[in-house]
Point group: C2
Chain length 426, copies 2
Amino acid sequence: MGAPARAIPHASSRAAVLDVIRAAGTISRVGLIQATGFTGATISTVVRKLIEDGLVVETGRAESTGGKPRVLLQLNQSSRYAVGVHLDHSGIAYVLTDLGGSVVARMTRAGAGTDDPPAVVERMAAEVATLIEGVGVDEERVLGIGLVSPGPLTPAAGMGPAPPIMRHWEDFPLDQEVRRATGLPVVLGNDATAAALGEYWSGAVSGSSTFAAVYVCTGIGSGILINGIPYHGSSGNAGEIGHICLDPDGPECWCGARGCTEVLAGPAAVVARARADTAVARAAGLDEAGGRGHSSVAADFAAVARAARRGEPGARAIVDRAARYLAVATRTLANVLDLDRVVLTGQSLAVAGSMYLPVVREELDRAFFSRATHPVAVQISTSAATAPAIGAATMVLQSELVPLQPGTRIPGDTRPERAAPRPVGT
Amino acid sequence: MGAPARAIPHASSRAAVLDVIRAAGTISRVGLIQATGFTGATISTVVRKLIEDGLVVETGRAESTGGKPRVLLQLNQSSRYAVGVHLDHSGIAYVLTDLGGSVVARMTRAGAGTDDPPAVVERMAAEVATLIEGVGVDEERVLGIGLVSPGPLTPAAGMGPAPPIMRHWEDFPLDQEVRRATGLPVVLGNDATAAALGEYWSGAVSGSSTFAAVYVCTGIGSGILINGIPYHGSSGNAGEIGHICLDPDGPECWCGARGCTEVLAGPAAVVARARADTAVARAAGLDEAGGRGHSSVAADFAAVARAARRGEPGARAIVDRAARYLAVATRTLANVLDLDRVVLTGQSLAVAGSMYLPVVREELDRAFFSRATHPVAVQISTSAATAPAIGAATMVLQSELVPLQPGTRIPGDTRPERAAPRPVGT
């Protein structure tokens, strides 16, 4: 009995009800009782408040099997909006979604590159304003900005430590600065987790209880959803598939360990191997791109992947080797988490996914447990370029719509204004 | 919004309230409101029903900061009991716990060995009866038997496919047969997950939000608890750290893949390496044990570990190498799940844990993410031999005390009598 009382590991009944309404499209109060297991009294109270707040509307009546017809509820889609921003070295993607997570505007701009963080923040603020004004949405209705970037995240704010390519962002107070520049609340998150959320909200993974988005952009990561809820881990850095060890004696990774998936098979490793082979470098046009000084790891990786797809044997061998490593890491992820679905996503897999898919499938078939107990479905994302930004926007929707109780804990939540969990007293 | 509505991924309010009362020891209704975030009306209703069912009692009053003193609630510990059974090749451990998870009786008997499953089941039924009668508990108050064994578990029942050493248990209808032989409800589970539950309920990991028990007995596994709730995955087989790939070109594992932690560093691999070295085999006394025909992998591993602890250099080298592999796999587990605590447990680590601990600590220090964002605490279990059986009993407590709502889903739940989750209708 030594274990202390702890916070309940789920969102409030209000958020749960709202999410069921969102997912169902339209649903009656009786349907909500069945779906949530809450009492009629709880559903009645929660729904009344959601209607008062303008988030839910009543819409017609359903046929009933007996008794009076049931009033149907649905989200008031245009009552609130959220901005999603996916900040990466190679590009910045923006979306504006309504309360239901539907994208009402999107745009892509130049990446952070080597620019100074303050300059990038000012540019992002201007681009967010353009996004919102472009569709004529009242800024009062914009709940905030979800801003996702390569991890890991520190509890305080921002990236830090950052991957090498974004090292100059380390310890930059990203959330504070974006909040100041835009005047909007900011929720920070990991790009890979946001990608998983984006896939989920776009309906690509329906029916999955335990799903991971394997995300390759500039680096390698993964986002994990359990019954649609992001799994964050104790510090918001879960799913670091890029730092699964595939060779204890392998080359040193920027993270300090050896033989990580990313150092063996990340886009930067693929590009380095391609550059080291004159024929491959020429076939992929790497020298020219490098010479112009405008290349990014993701762009160079895409060039190698295209050369591989064209049948350049050296490029194909390099990509196949990387795919095999990623596939083995994905198998480890699937075994540890007992996944039922994997989506290959991110900018780099949008280009190379067709070459990775069969290798990942084959490797998962080696996974005794999945084969013997249940299949693991593998698919390529159909929205790899925008999934992280969409997920970032849904983080705002989820965050702002959940009136957090004292003691409710969101692992990985980085907002400083949240009250600390209270110890349980009498 | 193509994603379908889904079940709420948390237990009922009743189970949540009961768990907070259990963990707090004593707590007022106001304390419950603060701890759970539920409304006063919900707490009032749930507590009244718990008292009616005899599970909770009122006990005195707390000092209040104002207004009238608050009535304190606590579990009625002796109102219900649960049996926990840990079935392994090398031993069968039994515990009887009260409603609070406190052990009121325990015993250990010979392992399943190579005996026929039906004979082992009959023996287990007799031993369970002895356990219950020994402390004079009315069998009416025994909720059921939690029975845990090496995974993986299939959705239907029992082990299947089983590890090589328990291959003859494959597809044996374990739960049905134990239920028939004992007359008690049976909940099956994975031994490693049960070990994690046992550590949690015994208070060894208080303050941890994301914790794994790295479990080495005959094989290698891990159990994962997130805020005290077991993480099962989509089929109840999460945490298979024994099948994390550490070398894509390594030796073939019984699971069908290559280079798994278990084939590289499991107790059977350690024993095989020791047997292959005449000096080590002699120092560990392996020949004698093998010659008597009564050895088990766990017993042989313990013999090698004791030789290593005595300073036999060959044995020490073999154990250190195995410890390094397990440490790397633990680092992968910690990175993927973003753990804040690891407990080394299981019969084999009860013997060898002091040699494994520094190696695991050192390897986790290489984990950039954990080092940079938060520490990962590592400790050796103080109840390695009984943790799985205690966890098995708590599975019964949790299972039986949660009146499952339609649509509430317990991943990995193998009981056939549970109604299938209902689709959300209107």
